[in-house]
Amino acid sequence: MLATSVEVLEFSKISLGELMSLSNEAIDALPFGVVGLSREGVTEVYSHTESKLAGIPPESVLGTHFFLSTAQCMNNFMVAQRLDDEAELDTVVDYVLTFRMRPTPIRLRLLKKAEYPRSYLLIQR
C-alpha cells in the first residue's frame, strides 16, 4: 500500500520500497535528487531534480557507471565502496560535491536492501 502523505516522502524517511514503486513523474517531483543504481553501479534512475541541480542532462548519465563517469567525487570508501561492500544500508552522510568546481555541501542518503536489485542515493542540497 503506497502512502502518499508528505511526511513519508521526506528525505530521511522515504523507504527503498517506496522509491522502487513510485512513478517517474513522482520521482521527478521530489524536492531532493534521486539516483538509482544497479548492483553493478550503472545509473538506472536519474531524477529531474538531480539533473537540474547537478547541471547534467539525464541522457548522458543513464546507462553509464555512476561513480566512474558522473560522480567521481564520491568514488571512495565513504560512498561508492560502502554501497558496494555493505549488504544493507540506510544511512545519511554529510558530503561535499563539486558543482561547477565549487564546493557544494550536501546531505547524502544511501539506501540498499538485499531484496531490491537497485540501490539509491538521495541528494539534499
Binding site: M78, T98, R100, P103
Partner: protein
C-alpha cells in the same frame, strides 16, 4: 550566452571532470576557491567538522608543514613544494598492508592564489619501497668509488675478517683489528649525541642495514671523514632468519655540502621541529611490529598532544606556536634513546615509538616527558608561554602485525587523558580492542 559558448563551456567542464589528478585553487590562508571532483574524492574522507573548506585545516593532521611552506615562500610565482608525500594512514590488514599516501604539488600563481594538485600514490610508494631497499645498497657502493675497505664481523659483532684495502685505508694491522669491535675506529670521547656501535648494530638488525657518516680513527694518521655501511648477513632457518654476521664497508668521502646524513634527515624529518616525520614514523613502526611478531620483545607507543595548543596560536600567533612545537620536540627528544623514535604525526600531536619497552616503562617515560613540558617556559618576544601535554600509552599485544591498532590504542588513551583534565598520563586498557 550563445549556443556555441554554452557548448564550449560544457566541453571545458567535462574536460575538468575527466581530469585524473585532483586540482584545488586556494588562497594564501588556505581558503578553497575552486576544486575538481577528484580532489574532493580524496579530501572528503579527511575532513573533520567543524573544519570549513580550508585546505590547510583539512591537511593539518597529516601534513602540518604545508601552511609553513606557503608562509615561508616569498617569491611571487613558483613551486612551493613538489610531489610532497602525505601519509594519511599506515597499512592495515584491510588495505592489504598498503599505506594510504597522497602526493601534493603546490604552485604559487599570484600573491594570494595558489594551485594544488593531489594524487593517490599509495601503490607507487609501496613499489618504491620494495625497489629502494635494494637500491640503497648498490648506490652507496657504486657512487664514484675509488677505494673502499671491507670488514667482516661475526654474529657477536667482533671483527673476523679484514680486506687488504681496509688495512691500507685505516693504517691498522690484522692483529690490531681481529677480535675487536668497530669501536676501534671511533674516537675515545665521542659526541654525547653519537650513536654507539652497539646501537648501530642493533639498528642494522632492525632495518637490514645501517649507514652513518663521521670521523674515523686511523693508526698513526689523522682521522678521516668516512661513510660506514653495516649490512646484516643472515640465514633462513627452520623458524626464521638468524643473523650470522655483518659486512661493514668503509668509504672515505670528501665531505659534501650535503652529507648523506643530512639528506637522510631531509627525507625523514619534520621540516619545523626536526622530529621524525609522519611517513618515517609509519615506516619504522611497521618494521618494529614485524620484529615484535618475530622476536617477541616488548613494544610500546606513547601518544602526546599539546593541551590547548589552538589557544596558544590564537593568543600569541602562529610563529609563537611554531616555537612552542620546536621547544616541545627538543625537550622530549633529549629524554629518549637512539632506538626510540619521536615523531610529529599531526599539527600538535606527536608519537613516541619505544622498542623493548613494556607498558610500565612507557608510563615512566611519559611521566618524564609530562614533567618536562610542565616545567618548560618558551620565551617569545616579551611573553613567557607555558604549556602542558596529555599522554596516552599503549603496549603491543600478541599478533600486532600492523602498527595501526597500537597507535589507535595510544590515541584512545590520549583522548581519555584529555577528557579527565589534561596534563596527565593515561594507560590503554589491556584487552581493549579498537572499534571499527
Amino acid at each position: 550566452m550563445s549556443a556555441e559558448t554554452a557548448t564550449e563551456n560544457e566541453l571545458l567542464l567535462q574536460f575538468l571532470y575527466a581530469c585524473p589528478v585532483g586540482l584545488v585553487e586556494i588562497e594564501a590562508d588556505g581558503a578553497i576557491g575552486m576544486i575538481n571532483p577528484l580532489a574532493m574524492q580524496l579530501m572528503v574522507p579527511l575532513m573533520r567538522p567543524p573544519q570549513g573548506m580550508n585546505f590547510f585545516d583539512i591537511m593539518e593532521p597529516y601534513a602540518p608543514e604545508l601552511r609553513n611552506l606557503v608562509e615561508e615562500f616569498t617569491a611571487l610565482h613558483g613551486e612551493v613544494c613538489s610531489n610532497l608525500r602525505i601519509f594519511i594512514s599506515p597499512g592495515t590488514k584491510q588495505s592489504g598492508y598498503l599505506a594510504h599516501v597522497l602526493s601534493c604539488t603546490l604552485v604559487r600563481l599570484a600573491a594570494d592564489r595558489f594551485m594544488a594538485t593531489l594524487s593517490d600514490v599509495s601503490k607507487v610508494v609501496a613499489q618504491e619501497r620494495r625497489l629502494g631497499e635494494a637500491e640503497v645498497w648498490f648506490s652507496s657502493l657504486l657512487d664514484g668509488v675509488s677505494d673502499f675497505a671491507v670488514l667482516s664481523l661475526d654474529a657477536q659483532g667482533l671483527i673476523d675478517g679484514v680486506s687488504a684495502s681496509a688495512l691500507r685505508q685505516t693504517g691498522f694491522s690484522n692483529e690490531d683489528l681481529l677480535g675487536k669491535t668497530l669501536d676501534v675506529f671511533d674516537s675515545p670521547t665521542p659526541a654525547t649525541s653519537a650513536v654507539t656501535v652497539t646501537e648501530q648494530i642493533s639498528l642494522a638488525c632492525r632495518d637490514g642495514w645501517y649507514l652513518i657518516e663521521g670521523w674515523q680513527k686511523r693508526k698513526d694518521l689523522p682521522a678521516d671523514w668516512c661513510q660506514r655501511l653495516i649490512a646484516v648477513r643472515s640465514e633462513e632457518g627452520e623458524e626464521d632468519r638468524t643473523v650470522t654476521g655483518y659486512t661493514v664497508i668503509l668509504r672515505e668521502v670528501v665531505r659534501q655540502k650535503h652529507d648523506a646524513l643530512e639528506l637522510k634527515q631531509m627525507l625523514t624529518r619534520d621540516h619545523l621541529t626536526g622530529a621524525s616525520n609522519r611517513a618515517h614514523f609509519f615506516e619504522i613502526a611497521g618494521r618494529e611490529c614485524s620484529r615484535f611478531v618475530r622476536y617477541g620483545h616488548s613494544l610500546s607507543v606513547v601518544a602526546l598532544d599539546i593541551d590547548h595548543f589552538k589557544s596558544v596560536n590564537d593568543t600569541y600567533g602562529h610563529a609563537a606556536g611554531d616555537k612552542v612545537l620546536r621547544e616541545v620536540s627538543r625537550r622530549c627528544m633529549v629524554l629518549l634513546r637512539p632506538a626510540d623514535t619521536f615523531a610529529r604525526v599531526g599539527g600538535e600531536e606527536f608519537m613516541v615509538l619505544l622498542p623493548g619497552t613494556d607498558l610500565r616503562g612507557a608510563r615512566l617515560l611519559a611521566e618524564r616527558l609530562r614533567s618536562a613540558l610542565e616545567n618548560m617556559t618558551v620565551s617569545y618576544g616579551n611573553e613567557m608561554i607555558t604549556v602542558t601535554g596529555s599522554f596516552g600509552c599503549a603496549e603491543a599485544v600478541p599478533d600486532t602485525s600492523s602498527p595501526a591498532p597500537l597507535m589507535e590504542s595510544a590515541d584512545r588513551a590520549l583522548y581519555n587523558a584529555k577528557q579527565m583534565g589534561r596534563n596527565m598520563v593515561v594507560l590503554a586498557v589491556a584487552g581493549e580492542v579498537p572499534g571499527e
